[in-house]
C-alpha cells in the first residue's frame, strides 16, 4: 500500500518491509517471476525448434475462421477479438483495484464481475478455436496444415500451439477461479471489514501477468 514515509527512512535497516509491501504481495511478485521463467522456457523451446525446422505453416492460413460465419477468409480476426476481450478484462481489473483503493465495495463487485465475464469469454473463445482446429484434424501429434511453402510440415506446429496456449488457458482458468473467490469474499464484506482491498490487488497482479503472457503467446503463434 502506498504510504507517505518520512524522508530519510532507512528502509533496509530491519523492522520494516524494505519495499513497503506486505509479504503476500512480495510473494506474488516472486511467484510471477518464477512463472515467467516457466513460460519463457516454453516459448524459447518453441522458438529453437521452429528455428531448426525447414518450414512452418502460415498463421494467416491456419487461423482464418470465425464462429457462425462459414466459408469466410478472415485471417487473425477472431484471435484479435480474443486478445481485445482479454485486454479489456485487464482494464476492468484496474478499475476494480482502483475501486478497492477508494474502499468502494460496490465498485469492486461491479468490476470484478466484469473481469470474470471477460475471463470466461476468453476461455469460451479459446474453447471454440480449439474445437474448430480439432475439427480440421489438428491435435497433439496431428498437424493437417502444410508449410507456407507448400511442403509437408512436422507436427510440432500443433504440438507447441496446443501445449502453450493450453498452459496459458489453464492460467486464465485459475485466474477466473481466483477472481470468483475474491468476488465472493468481497460480497461477504471480508475486505470491507479488514479495511483494505489488498487481496484484490494481488489477484490483479496475477491477472495482468496472465494478460501480458498472452501478448507474447499471441505474438509468437499468430503474428510471427
Amino acid at each position: 500500500m502506498a504510504q507517505m514515509a518520512p524522508a530519510g527512512t532507512k528502509w533496509w535497516s530491519g523492522g520494516k518491509s524494505p519495499f513497503n509491501v506486505e509479504y503476500g504481495k512480495l510473494m506474488m511478485w516472486y511467484f510471477l517471476m518464477s512463472d515467467a521463467f516457466t513460460f519463457g522456457a516454453f516459448l524459447i523451446s518453441y522458438g529453437s525448434i521452429r528455428f531448426a525446422t525447414n518450414g512452418w505453416p502460415d498463421p494467416n492460413e491456419v487461423f482464418k475462421a470465425f464462429p457462425f460465419i462459414h466459408g469466410v477468409n478472415l485471417p487473425l480476426v477472431f484471435v484479435s477479438l480474443m486478445t481485445f476481450i482479454l485486454i479489456a478484462s485487464s482494464v476492468t481489473m484496474v478499475l476494480a483495484v482502483a475501486a478497492g483503493h477508494n474502499n468502494d465495495q460496490k465498485g469492486v463487485t461491479k468490476y470484478m464481475i466484469l473481469t470474470i465475464i471477460g475471463g470466461l469469454m476468453f476461455l469460451g473463445c479459446q474453447a471454440w478455436e480449439w474445437t474448430h482446429l480439432h475439427g480440421e484434424g489438428a491435435w497433439w501429434g496431428r498437424n493437417p496444415f502444410v508449410n507456407a511453402d507448400g511442403t509437408v510440415a512436422t507436427t510440432n506446429f500443433t504440438n507447441f500451439f496446443f501445449t502453450i496456449t493450453g498452459f496459458h488457458g489453464f492460467h486464465v482458468f485459475s485466474g477466473v477461479i481466483i477472481n470468483i473467490i475474491m468476488l465472493i469474499k468481497n460480497l461477504r464484506g471480508d475486505f470491507a471489514k479488514r479495511g483494505h482491498y489488498l487481496m484484490i490487488e494481488k489477484a490483479g497482479l496475477y491477472w495482468h501477468f496472465v494478460d501480458l503472457v498472452w501478448v507474447f503467446v499471441f505474438t509468437c503463434f499468430y503474428l510471427l
Binding site: 504510504q3 535497516s13 520494516k16 497433439w140
Partner: protein, 607 residues
C-alpha cells in the same frame, strides 16, 4: 495500511502465537498431536519434518549405492542373500540384474540430489534458521510453509511407490534424457516408473517453489529492528541466494518435464526425431530435438548444484566463525562471492553438454564463464582458511565437519577446472572422473556442510546434545572414507573407465581396476555403516542426550541463542529482540563474543 501493519501482515498468526505462549504458561494449551507434530505450522517443527524425511531418504539412497557398489566391486560373485531379499527379478542368482542396476544408479542420484541435499538441506535449515536468526516469530506464511513440506512428502511417497511397481522405478539416469525417457518401449524403467518419477519431481518443484517464496519474503520483510541486510549471518545470505536460484530455475525444469510428458503420452515430437528401431522400422516422430531437453534440464541442473552447495557454505561459515572464536574473514567478500556464484549459476549450464555437438565457439564461451566460478569459490575458500588462521579453535563435531567441508570443497573444486575445459572434457566426459568430481565437490561437501549444521544446531532443535564420541567416530570415518572412495575414481576416469556401466571387467584396459573397485566398495560399505551410527546417535540423543542447560551453549552472537532453550511457537516469549551490531563480533575489545542484541558501547565503533 501502514508499513507496521504491512510488516505484520501475518499478525493474526503472531497474535495466535502470543496466545499460545500465554496458554502454555498457564499449562492448558490447546495444541493437539496433529497440529503440533503432523500438520504443524511452526517453522521449527517443519524443519524437523524436512530433516527426518531427508534422513530416511539418505539411508535409502545410501543403501542403493551400497548395492550397486557391490555389483561394481564383485561383478562375478553370487550373493544369495540379494536374491532372497530382492527377489529373482532384480537379483537373479544373487547378482544384480542390468535393469535393476540402472534403476539403482538413477534413483540414487535423484534421491540424493533432490530429496536429501535440496529438500533435506534447504528445507531443514532455511526453515529452522531464517526466523530464528532474523528475529521473526515465524515464516511470512506459515500455512504455505506447511504446504511446502506436505508437497515434499507427497513427492516422496510417489517416488517411493515407484520402487515397488512391477516394471521398477525410472532407470534412465537422474537426468532422464530422452529419447530413452520418452519412449516407454525403450526399457523397463521408461514405463510407469518414468511417469511416477516425473509426477514426483513436479510435486517436488511445487514444494520447492512454496518454500522458496516464503524464504525470500521472510528474509526481506521480517527482519527484526536493527537487522539490516549486512548484519545478517552468512547462513541467511546463503539461504536467500539459494531460494532465488530455486525460484528461477525449477520452473524451467517443470516446463521441460511437461514437454516430456506430452512426448510420452500425446504423440508429440518435442524431443524426438529420426528414431530407428532395432527392427529397422522408424518412428513417425519428426522435427524434435533431444538436445532441447538437455538445455532445459541443465538450466535447472546447474543452478541446482549451487542450490545444494550454497546452504552448506552458509552453515559452514557460521559454524566456523563461532568455533574459531573469530569474526568471519571478509564478510562482504563472502556475500559478494555468493552473489557472483548465483549469477554465474545461470550462465554455465552448457558445460554439461560439451560433447552434444555444441558449436566449439559457443563451448569456449561456456568454458570462460565456467572457469570464472573459480574466482568467487577461491575467495570463499581463502576466507575460510583465514578465518581459521590464528583462531582459538574449538574442535566440536560441528567444527570438524565444517573444516572437512572446506577440505572436500578444495579437492573437488580443483577437478572442476579440469572438467570445465571443453577440450579435456571430451576425454573425461561420462567417465568415473566426473563421478569423483561431483561427489567430492557437491555430494560429500554438501552432506558434510549439512552434518556441520546438524551437530551445531541440534541443541537448539531438541534441547539436547548429540553424543560426542559417536560424533568423532562418525566424522573421521566419513571424511577419510569419502576420500578413499572417490579419490581413486579419478585414476579410473583418467584411464577412460566409463560411468554407469554395470560391469567393466570385460575390458582389458579396465581389468587392472578390479582390486581398486573392490577396495572402493568395501570402504563405501564401512562409511554407510558409520552413517547408521549417526542416525542412531540422532534419535538416541533426541530422547536421551545430555540436556542443554544454558541458553547459549556455543557462545554465539546470533539471535537463535537468545530464544529459550526449547522455544515455543513464536520463538520469543516476550518482545522480539532488537539488533544493534553485526553477527560476527567475536574476540572484540577483549571480550570473547558480543551478542547481536547488545547495544554499541559509548567508546565502541560499529564494525
Amino acid at each position: 495500511m501502514s508499513n507496521e501493519a504491512a510488516l505484520h501482515g501475518h499478525s493474526d498468526v503472531a497474535h495466535a502465537h502470543g496466545v499460545d505462549i500465554h496458554h502454555e504458561e498457564h499449562g492448558h494449551h490447546k495444541e493437539t498431536f496433529i497440529t503440533k507434530y503432523v500438520f504443524s505450522q511452526d517453522h521449527k517443527m517443519i524443519a524437523k519434518q524436512f530433516l527426518i524425511t531427508g534422513m530416511i531418504w539418505a539411508i535409502l539412497g545410501g543403501l542403493m549405492s551400497v548395492l550397486f557398489r557391490l555389483q561394481l566391486g564383485y561383478p562375478d560373485t553370487h550373493f544369495q542373500i540379494l536374491e532372497d531379499l530382492l527377489g529373482s527379478k532384480w537379483a537373479k542368482g544373487g547378482q544384480i540384474q542390468p535393469e535393476f542396476y540402472y534403476a539403482l544408479v538413477t534413483m540414487h542420484g535423484t534421491v540424493l540430489v533432490f530429496f536429501v541435499l535440496t529438500g533435506g538441506l534447504s528445507g531443514t535449515f532455511a526453515n529452522f534458521l531464517i526466523p530464528l536468526q532474523l528475529g521473526a516469530r515465524d515464516m511470512a506464511s506459515p500455512f504455505l510453509n506447511m504446504l511446502s513440506y506436505w508437497f515434499f512428502w507427497l513427492a516422496s511417497v510417489v517416488m517411493l511407490s515407484s520402487l515397488f511397481i512391477e516394471t521398477g522405478p525410472a532407470s534412465g539416469g537422474w537426468t532422464s534424457y530422452p529419447p530413452l525417457s520418452a519412449l516407454g518401449d525403450a526399457s523397463e524403467g521408461s514405463k510407469t516408473g518414468m511417469d511416477l518419477w516425473l509426477i514426483s519431481m513436479a510435486l517436488f518443484v511445487v514444494s520447492s517453489l512454496l518454500g522458496g517464496l516464503n524464504y525470500i519474503s521472510t528474509i526481506l520483510n521480517l527482519r527484526t529492528k536493527g537487522m539490516s541486510m549486512t548484519r545478517m549471518p552468512l547462513t541467511i545470505w546463503a539461504l536467500l541466494f539459494t531460494a532465488i536460484l530455486g525460484v528461477l530455475s525449477f520452473p524451467v525444469l517443470l516446463s521441460g518435464f511437461i514437454l516430456l510428458l506430452f512426448d510420452r503420452h500425446a504423440g508429440t515430437s518435442f524431443y524426438l526425431s529420426d528414431i530407428f528401431l532395432a527392427s529397422g522400422k522408424a518412428l513417425p516422430n519428426e522435427g524434435g530435438s533431444a538436445i532441447l531437453y538437455q538445455h532445459l534440464f541443465w538450466f535447472l541442473g546447474h543452478p541446482e548444484v549451487y542450490i545444494i552447495i550454497l546452504p552448506a557454505m552458509g552453515l559452514v561459515s557460521e559454524v566456523m566463525s563461532v568455533n574459531a572464536r573469530k569474526p568471519i574473514f571478509g564478510y562482504m567478500a563472502m556475500v559478494g562471492s555468493m552473489f557472483a556464484i548465483a549469477i554465474l549459476a545461470f550462465l554455465v549450464w552448457a558445460h554439461h553438454m560439451f560433447v552434444t555437438g555444441l558449436n566449439p565457439f559457443l563451448g569456449s564461451v561456456f568454458v570462460l564463464l565456467t572457469l570464472l566460478i573459480a574466482v568467487p569459490s577461491a575467495i570463499k575458500v581463502f576466507n575460510w582458511l583465514t578465518t581459521l588462521w590464528k583462531g582459538n579453535i574449538r574442535f566440536t563435531p560441528g567444527m570438524l565437519f565444517a573444516i572437512g567441508f572446506v577440505s572436500m570443497f578444495i579437492s573437488g573444486g580443483l577437478t572442476g577446472i579440469f572438467l570445465g575445459n571443453s577440450t579435456l572434457d571430451i576425454h573425461l566426459h561420462d567417465t568415473m572422473f566426473v563421478i569423483a568430481h561431483f561427489h567430492i565437490v557437491m555430494g560429500v561437501s554438501g552432506i558434510l556442510g549439512m552434518f556441520a549444521g546438524i551437530y551445531h544446531w541440534f541443541p537448539k532443535m531438541y534441547g539436547r546434545y548429540l553424543n560426542n564420541t559417536m560424533a568423532y567416530i562418525h566424522f573421521w570415518i566419513t571424511l577419510v572414507g569419502a576420500y578413499l572412495i572417490f579419490w581413486p575414481m579419478h585414476y579410473e576416469g583418467l584411464a577412460g573407465m566409463p560411468r554407469r556401466y554395470l560391469d567393466v571387467s570385460g575390458w582389458l584396459s579396465f581389468n587392472q581396476f578390479g582390486g581398486l573397485n573392490r577396495f572402493i566398495s568395501t570402504v563405501a560399505m564401512i562409511v554407510f555403516a558409520v552413517q547408521l551410527l549417526f542416525v542412531f546417535n540422532f534419535f538416541y540423543s533426541i530422547f536421551k542426550g545430555r540436556k542443554v542447560i544454558t541458553q547459549n551453549p556455543w557462545g554465539a552472537t546470533t539471535l537463535e541463542w537468545t530464544a529459550p532453550i526449547r522455544p515455543g511457537h513464536g520463538n520469543w516469549p516476550g518482545e522480539i529482540p532488537e539488533v544493534h551490531r553485526w553477527a560476527y563480533d567475536y574476540a572484540k575489545d577483549g571480550r570473547e563474543f558480543i551478542p547481536q542484541t547488545e547495544p554499541l558501547g559509548s567508546n565502541e565503533s560499529a564494525h
